[in-house]
């Protein structure tokens, strides 16, 4: 189910960028959650998160900033790239896409492919698949940008989502490399559960209308606008509980590995205790599951690359990682996971947006 393979590519460089504004959830959530806030912060792990002001800083801004820092750090030549791919569901415009704008902003060649991928929290492995395929096909590096500003469509009065989301942008360079080994992927999509995680208005099914920006009490008790995210938390949790460990176990087997041989399991930073449960199920020790949710919150698909930059910088730069799994899961409902080995990766780190 959902298997795919790539060979002869590698992640050559990576960087991340977050807004400067930091929210302390113990303070922020006191009014909405009352005394429950301590327990919820301890469970979710989201003690701090970074947010940007709507209309001022976008996912594109954060990701372009990360890319510029990476270009400097890795001494990349902008004319060498054969493509730029932007994973996002919070683009600057519905048309044209973010990637074409980035071609101009970053001074990339005009003879490149530039397209977006919209697939929410599971996005980074999907982006790696697309970027790796393009890099392999063209024989040239591809710039993979992954950025989101989820805080812009989360109601501060919706108890299910108010605490969780932050903003971030990331940049990765995916390059042809004969010693890159095999990238093994696992994908799963359950479209029948798409309404469990959805923004009702603002697309072309339900256009923006006079009610779209009005807060109202919803059936589930949440107080939000139709342009805000609705999350059926139980449905999403149940999906993760039933499906994510199963998919990771399948990936480990397909990659001819065992739980004991996995160096790092980098999971989408959705909820810290849930990640502990997943790690336990797939029998990978918690020490090998890096966590950044306490600093940056859940920024959707960028959580995987930002965790790499934040928690594994030294390992990426100085060690040959023999076996790493990265997995995202979320809206769709969908799962994307990839197993690979990594040589030395130029990791510029995590930057505050200036």
């Amino acid at each position: 189910m959902g298997a795919a393979f790539l060979e002869g590519v590698t992640i050559d460089g990576i960087s991340a960028c977050v807004p400067k504004t930091e929210i302390d959830n113990l303070t922020f959530g006191r009014e909405l959650y009352g005394d429950d806030i301590e327990g919820l912060v301890r469970t979710t792990g989201v003690s701090k998160r970074r947010v940007s002001k709507e209309g001022e800083i976008t996912a594109l801004d954060l990701s372009v900033y990360a890319a510029r820092k990476l270009f400097e750090y890795g001494n990349y030549s902008r004319g060498d790239f054969s493509g730029v791919i932007f994973v996002t569901q919070t683009p600057d415009n519905l048309m044209p896409n973010n990637a074409t704008y980035c071609q101009e902003l970053l001074g990339l060649s005009e003879e490149i492919a530039a397209f977006d991928i919209n697939i929410a929290c599971s996005g980074y492995p999907f982006g790696l698949f697309a970027a790796g395929s393009l890099a392999k096909s063209t024989g040239k590096p591809v710039l993979l940008l992954d950025g989101e500003t989820n805080s812009h469509y989360v109601s501060p009065k919706d108890k299910v989502t108010a605490l969780l989301f932050g903003d971030a942008g990331t940049a990765s360079v995916v390059s042809p490399n004969a010693s890159g080994g095999i990238w093994t992927f696992d994908f799963e999509t359950i479209g029948s559960k798409r309404s469990a995680l959805i923004i009702p208005d603002g697309g072309y099914r339900n256009r923006i209308n006079k009610y779209s920006s009005q807060y109202k009490q919803c059936e589930d008790g949440g107080f939000r606008r139709p342009i805000d995210m609705y999350m059926n938390g139980m449905d999403v949790y149940n999906f993760v509980a039933k499906n994510v460990p199963k998919r990771i176990k399948a990936l480990i087997e397909r990659a001819n590995e065992s739980s004991a041989s996995i160096d790092w399991l980098v999971l989408h930073q959705a909820n810290e205790y849930m990640l502990k449960q997943v790690a336990r199920s797939v029998k990978i020790p918690w020490e090998r599951v890096p966590i950044s949710i306490g600093k940056y919150g859940n920024s959707s698909s960028p959580t995987v690359p930002i965790t790499l930059c934040s928690e594994l910088k030294d390992e990426l730069e100085n060690a040959n990682i023999k076996s790493i799994i990265m997995a995202g899961f979320g809206a769709g409902l969908s799962i994307g996971a990839v197993h690979m080995k990594l040589g030395s990766v130029k990791c510029a780190g995590v930057f505050d947006y200036e």
Binding site: G39, T43, V160, G233, N238, A241, K242, M274, Q277, S281
Partner: protein
């Protein structure tokens, strides 16, 4: 495991009056975030590990009690 201690823990997390027959659907505060917190508190306090694959089946206090009992062996 003392059932009364588990019931107190569950009630404290949910901030609700509960007993062995309480159904999840009847407790408004028993949402997804509280659900995960509940599992965390029970696991930490009573030294059990409830497999994540079984957590979606917990739709009542009685099922949670049975799972804790089973994990205690």
């Amino acid at each position: 495991m003392k059932t009364s201690e588990v019931l107190k823990t569950i009630g404290d997390v949910l901030k609700a009056e509960i007993d062995e027959y309480t159904m999840k659907i009847d407790v408004p505060s028993w949402d997804s975030l509280k659900h995960i917190q509940l599992i965390m508190e029970v696991e930490e306090k009573f030294g059990v590990e409830i497999p994540i694959e079984k957590v979606p089946d917990i739709d009542s206090v009685s099922i949670l009690l049975k799972l804790i009992e089973a994990e205690e062996g």
